[in-house]
Amino acid sequence: MGIATATIKGFWNLILGLFTTGKYLPRKSVTLQYPDERWNMPERSRGVVVLLSDPQTGELNCNACQVCMKQCPVHAINVDQIKDPETKKRYPGNFTIDNTICCFCGICEEVCNFDAIKLTGKYEFSVFNKEELIYNKEKLQELGRDVKYTPRKKKKASDEDEKTEKKEAKPAEEKSETKTAGEKTESNPEEKDS
Amino acid sequence: MTKQEITEKFKTRFGPDLEVLETGQPETYLYISESRYHELCEFAKNDPDLDFDYLFNFGGAHYPEERFEIVLCLSSHEKRHNAIIKVKLDKDNPETVTISDVWEAANWFEREAMELFGIKFKNHPDPRPLLLVEDWDHGYPMRKGWTGPDFIPMPEE
């Protein structure tokens, strides 16, 4: 009798499998038709790195402290520091990010004290020539032109100069408060189940 | 067994060849002389109180001025205690015996240490390279001070 019950049980389970897959047959698809439809990137997305500019003046926030360059785990960032002899202000002479080796870890954004660098939700940056992936200052500024950000507290101007290494500390806490990853996030995932 | 008990157990058996390392860690740290290394491994595995049947981790380390080291992280499935056994090896010609006859798991670990550190394991059943490319000829990459193609050491400040 064992064989008969086993056969019937096996047969039943085969049918059950068919029903399970058949159940999904009439359901709505969960995929997106990519180039036509796109998903909203969450606020915190870590994509292409850009340089932020002051919305009023249009100048780069970066003062070439080189913290990001030193902290970058893959040495993808290269910054030249230029000091204006008159105003004593520092600014980046050349700022390149090598996107071929950038690992989008977000450390540069975290260590930056001046809201100068940010990882954005951009993810399409394929090119035909590898060299085009090395972004220079102009390109980074251009990309960061319309990126919205919440400026953090201004530091005392005197602080800024020596603050090369001391950053690191104020990493996450401040940011999570300022950036309320609100509306822009994923379309409600619950809908997918229906 | 507690840390003290494990240390005592090893000490009574190996006495002078053993050097206990005082660390703040909850695990036992021991140095054993190279000559009694294999014996200690067998003892650690077969002694019913110690019962280290699980070679959890095994690796080399290089201290260029002093020595090579191999480090065994042992664990016991039944007794649920751990110990770290370390062996000092000669700095110029690191050589020891294999323990893959004690724990089968040591086989690949030793192969790895062999090609990355250049530590020789006598009587190893299968001394082929494991991770590096077949025609690797740039020395032993995990040794301190090693340089090779495309290797960028961290900039010192």
Binding site: R44, C105, A169 | L55, M142
Partner: protein, 374 residues
């Protein structure tokens, strides 16, 4: 072509077959040299190292914080546990207190990542056995988990979320609702997977009694995680040496009976449910607090010394042995990964079986190659 002479005995020979590095079912770049006699495997030699990136050497040339993104790449299907393993080791070394909220967040993320990792395993294993649909179903559910991760830390694969001393960011406000909804729907999905596979006679015949891993061998080879639990041994670091806040949660350690492919399958299926329980408990008990990362000096220098620590990653135990010279970068990092030892089980248990069984066994061991090669 010369025709065979009549009456001449046909030549029989064992032949070598090179499975991988490019083969659909080697899950990456494993190369197996098989000595075959017809369909039977007589000898099996794994060749690894195609993904060797010398992460241990990289670690010696990076600060502790800089090395964190590299841990993502050790096991890229389960980056959160890889992060956690390193963070736990460094915290043990530096005797650091982690804020409780961060610990809870870590548990939530790691358990969600365990589900995601097991989903990849489920998909690829059923794909290896010829069932394509569970693969797509598994990735459908995994997508939701990745959405959760993305809204928290901004990445879908290499999270770099768990840091030394805590986590990088707090969860966004909508996380909890979405996460609970996911857990609720996922429990039903697990039943679906079971309906397709568990009792299916074809699946049973392919997995029951195949690739039996004896407990002695598993212990000797250092197998861990679901591989050793499938061989009927209750061994889970979350229970044995509770790290983080795992001692506060109530969960079971599923074990198999015989150690065959089916047992390892059932262990992981059951772990889906247990992980769901843990995530729900962690969400319930999530303490309200603003600190999610311990205060650290600007340049983090742990005291000189050495440390040994391990956690339960989805594939088994992931452990670190770190030697610190009191410098800002580690002196030596030895990474112990679960797949490294689990892969060694493949040879002994698949000799004498067929090539189709090898594929099933390899799928059930859930080996991921970047973890082996590091």
């Amino acid at each position: 072509m010369e025709s065979a002479t009549y009456g001449k005995k046909l030549r029989e020979e064992e032949f070598l077959i090179n499975m991988g590095p490019q083969h659909p079912s080697t899950h990456g770049v494993l190369r197996l040299v098989l000595k075959m006699e017809g369909e039977f495997i007589r000898e099996l030699t794994p060749h690894v190292g195609y993904l060797h990136r010398s992460i241990e050497k990289i670690a010696e040339n990076r600060t502790y914080n800089q090395f964190m993104p590299f841990t993502d790449r050790i096991d890229y299907c389960a980056s959160m546990p890889s992060n956690l393993a390193f963070a736990v080791a460094v915290e043990k070394l530096a005797e650091m207190e982690v804020p409780e909220r961060a610990e809870y967040l870590r548990v939530i993320m790691v358990e969600l990542n365990r589900i995601a990792s097991h989903l990849i395993w489920l998909g690829t294993m059923s794909l290896d056995l010829g069932a394509v649909t569970p693969f797509l179903y598994a990735f459908r559910e995994r997508e939701w988990i990745l959405d959760l991760f993305e809204m928290t830390c901004g990445q879908r694969l290499t999270y770099h979320y768990i840091r030394v001393g805590g986590v990088s960011r707090d969860i966004p406000p909508e996380f909890e609702k979405s996460c609970r909804a996911f857990i609720k729907s996922f429990r039903k999905k697990v039943d679906d997977y079971e309906a397709i596979l568990t009792e299916n006679p074809i699946f049973l015949s392919r997995t029951k009694g195949i690739g039996i891993l004896p407990l002695d061998l598993a212990k000797d080879l250092g197998a861990s995680g679901p591989t050793i639990r499938g061989s009927n041994y209750e061994w889970d670091i979350r229970k044995v040496e509770p790290y983080s806040v795992y001692n506060k949660f109530d969960f079971k350690i599923p074990t198999g009976k015989n150690g065959d492919v089916w047992d390892r399958y059932m262990v992981r299926i059951e772990e889906f449910r247990q992980s769901c329980n843990i995530v729900e408990q962690a969400l319930d008990g999530l303490p309200e607090s603003d600190t999610i990362r311990a205060k650290m000096k600007a340049v983090f220098r742990p005291p000189a010394g050495e440390v040994f620590s391990r956690i339960e990653a989805p594939r088994g135990e992931m452990g670190y042995y770190i030697v610190s010279a009191g410098d800002k970068k580690p002196y030596r990092v030895k990474i112990r990964t679960a797949s490294y030892n689990n892969l060694q089980c493949l040879g002994p248990i698949s000799i004498g079986l067929k090539i189709a069984d090898l594929v099933a066994i390899f799928g059930s061991l859930d080996v991921i190659l970047p973890e082996v090669d590091r």
